[in-house]
Symmetry: C2
Subunit: 497 residues, 2 copies
């Protein structure tokens, strides 16, 4: 008992420093994407590499194994056991992967991202495939090192969504797919098409609106800041959680909804119980749960009829005539469903179909059932089957996403998990907050953001991902039905289908 | 021979990572002073502490001692020997100081800075003295650990200015003091007083002018950036060297001259031979040499009659009427000598008298010849003797500088060394560049900044501090005469004395 407490205290003190150093490494990434002078890139690569090597050495420090072996878990409380769960998982994973493989992967994916970007710019799939083949090969080796006899894809997926398996994702997508395909077909056959925005959208005003939106969605400015970035992201945990956005003079929705989305991610980090600061519980518990927060902010709240009613007035006040007649038409404009090739531009109805395509292809690649040489054909065939149009060029097809080039296999399904979790949370939240629409109509999402803070965000890493969602939903395990019912009701009303 | 090369390569690979991690720690400091959200401070303290502990562990890694022991210095080239000189000095110093003393000092000075700031705000010397006493005590212990029988003050001074001793500083000040006291007395007795600026100085325009000035003084924007900070500083080495400035609507000189000063520091780091990147030679060699670059930029160039002629026109173009009749009057305004209590506001004539006071007092404190209980009386007595006025309150006297509270003993004299070195370099530069004033009159300091880059800055840490200056001055060892002659000529002309 005394040994357990001593070992636990020593382990947690060591871990606290690692967490602090991990925050520094994360902030270096923020710096790179927001304020770093252009010419600093080569030096920055060495700085980031040195931080990663130092963190890897800490995460595989043999003392962690000794401390873990000295601790009697039964003598710890819930928080202690949850900390051990995270530390054990990280230690196990990091010590299983040989150092030379980890370094080879880091070097390869850094190079592969450049090669992918060039291939995409020149629409040249063949220029990317050999490198992608190497990435797949090394990721398979890594998966084999950590799989313990499990499926290779599951070993990778588990890194982003602990406890989730490819088989479960497959079942989930099997339930979603028919209803989404049907909804999409009815919408596109409806003959209705909401108008697009028109007008002039001053970029400074867009950023002002973004700041106002972040504030309305509860962003804590004393512990964060908003900057511009080419690809918006949120960054950091605890007392320093920063968000970024971008502006496009022709498309203010880009700025508006990426800001609300990143505010959702940041809200999760900002609302975690401060007692967990700089411990493994002081960060969002999984990519799927993280995405559930950003998605519910962006979609179920930000794209709701009630909130868009307020947003319509706010945009007319900021930009003058925006080419849309009234709030009802604006709601339809915000939620337009149009055919398109690009995942990141997809609406709520079609987004998950994009993910399903990627999930099946990347799972087949990692399991060895698909060769990279056959990837483009497989993509194009599947896309035409799912979306009814032929891919016109690689940048609209297999080269559109950065993920695989940087070695992210098993990451895509967490986007859909986020949507499914958001669907569950939204149903539970609406049941608890019957007057939510009145607040949203006044531009005030606070009842919803406080509900999420209290029921999801404050727990950080205390519970396993699906348990977090289930607890917030009165004990109901996550399921696809609430998301699908929400989508059918919302888009059914907009398109009269 | 093979062993030497292997050990040297291993040592330098290890050192390169340490240098990269040191840059990350430095950038964390930049972040804190420029962009960090206010509420992040407690977490930041843990992050910075974790970085320092990690760096300390690397700097005292026993492998360094083994590598050093395996290297036959005679088999290395000049660069190799210079690298060893820096690494050996750092290793020796860091391993001599007991870890618990280093940690106690870090904790104490972090606390002491807050206590000093509160004491200064409330003009309460007694509230600060017990803490200052602890700082002096621990710094003396630290000095004893590294002194090897040398004078304790010299052991601390050596950390900022390798190779320099208190006795040499004492001799230097002994030569400077009578001529500066005499010059100051003649100026104040002259009855002349140039007018001050008047007018309105838009802060956005001040920052625009600051950017223009940094560009004119050769700042490399591809490898740096300019931000606002409460206390301007420059930060970083190699490919990422950032500067900061501030603006005061009533005093545009604050923004202008702090920008030129920091650009001088940055120019040093930016012009170091790129072959030294992320090695011990890739940083400025000492505080004194660093300050020589910032001072020559700020004073000998930026406050010259030629350059202020251009600046007068630039300021009138930017701000309209500035309350000064012509370029000659403006030159005098820029170089006004007025009685005052505050070191950081002092002119070129009086500045070094402020430093002499601090040097004598801090040296006595560290040598045990002065107790902190007697410090205020000693300060006030000395100030009245040197400056002819009584200190009216502690914030204008012994509490005005942050240095002692953060444990910086032995740092003050490097400011004066910088002035002396700048005097030497200026004389050598003028001999090489007879047409420099024509360029400066056109707002173009490039001949001077290129001369400094070629003769001083590019060498980084290759030579010992005084050797750097001597090499740039045709072999002449640094001496006080050029600075004094420059000051007597310049201020003699302005004041007709």
């Amino acid at each position: 008992m005394a040994d357990t407490q001593e070992a636990y205290a020593a382990l947690m003190a060591f871990q606290r420093r690692t967490e602090a150093l991990g925050q520094v490494a994360g902030r270096l990434g923020w710096d790179q994407e927001t304020v770093m002078p252009e010419g600093a890139a080569p030096q920055r690569a060495e700085e980031a590499g040195a931080m990663e090597a130092m963190l890897h050495a800490r995460r595989t420090d043999p003392r962690i194994g000794e401390w873990l072996a000295s601790i009697d878990e039964a003598a710890l409380d819930d928080v202690g056991r949850a900390n051990l769960r995270h530390i054990r998982r990280s230690y196990r994973r990091n010590t299983r992967v040989p150092a030379d493989l980890a370094e080879a992967l880091a070097r390869l994916t850094s190079r592969a991202q450049r090669i992918w970007a060039e291939a995409r710019a020149s629409e040249d799939v063949a220029a990317f495939l050999p490198t992608l083949g190497e990435v797949v090969k090394l990721r398979r080796e890594e998966a084999a090192a950590i799989a313990d006899g499990r499926d290779l894809y599951d070993a990778l997926l588990d890194d982003f969504e602990p406890g989730m398996t490819g088989a479960e994702i497959e079942t989930m997508f099997g339930e979603m797919r028919p209803r989404l395909v049907d909804l999409r077909a009815r919408i596109l056959a409806s003959g209705r098409q909401p108008g697009a925005l028109s007008g002039s959208f001053d970029e400074t005003r867009q950023i002002e609106l973004a700041r106002d939106l972040a504030t309305r969605f509860g962003y804590d400015w004393a512990h964060g800041r908003l900057d511009r970035a080419v690809h918006p992201f949120s960054s950091g945990s605890g007392l320093d959680v920063r968000i970024t956005t971008r502006s496009d003079p022709r498309d203010p929705f880009n700025c508006i909804y990426s800001t609300i989305h990143e505010t959702g991610h940041a809200a999760y980090e900002q609302h975690i119980d401060r007692a967990y600061l700089l411990t493994p519980l002081g960060r969002g518990v999984s990519m799927g749960v993280h995405e559930s927060q950003s998605r519910i902010f962006e979609n179920q709240l930000g794209r709701s009829r009630a909130f868009t009613g307020w947003l319509f007035d706010a945009m007319r006040a900021g930009f003058g005539d925006i080419g849309v007649a009234d709030a009802e038409a604006f709601f339809a404009t915000v939620n337009r469903v149009t055919p398109g090739f690009i995942r990141t531009e997809a609406d709520e109805v079609q987004y998950n179909l994009h993910i399903m395509l990627r999930f099946d292809l990347e799972r087949a690649l990692i399991r060895g059932a698909l060769e990279v040489a056959d990837l483009e054909a497989a993509w194009n065939e599947r896309f035409e089957a799912d979306f009814g149009v032929k891919v016109d060029r690689p940048s609209n097809g297999v080269l559109q996403d950065v993920h695989w080039s940087v070695g992210l296999f098993g990451y895509f399904p967490t986007y859909s998990l986020g949507n499914v979790y958001a669907g569950c949370l939204h149903a539970a939240m609406r049941a608890d907050l019957p007057d939510l629409d009145a607040a949203l109509s006044a531009g005030d999402p606070e009842p919803a953001t406080e509900w999420l803070a209290a029921h999801v965000q404050r727990y950080g890493g205390l519970h396993e991902p699906r348990e977090v969602i289930a607890r917030a939903c009165g004990g109901r395990a996550p399921e696809v039905a609430p998301l699908l019912s929400y989508l059918e009701a919302k888009f059914g009303a907009i398109y009269g289908v």
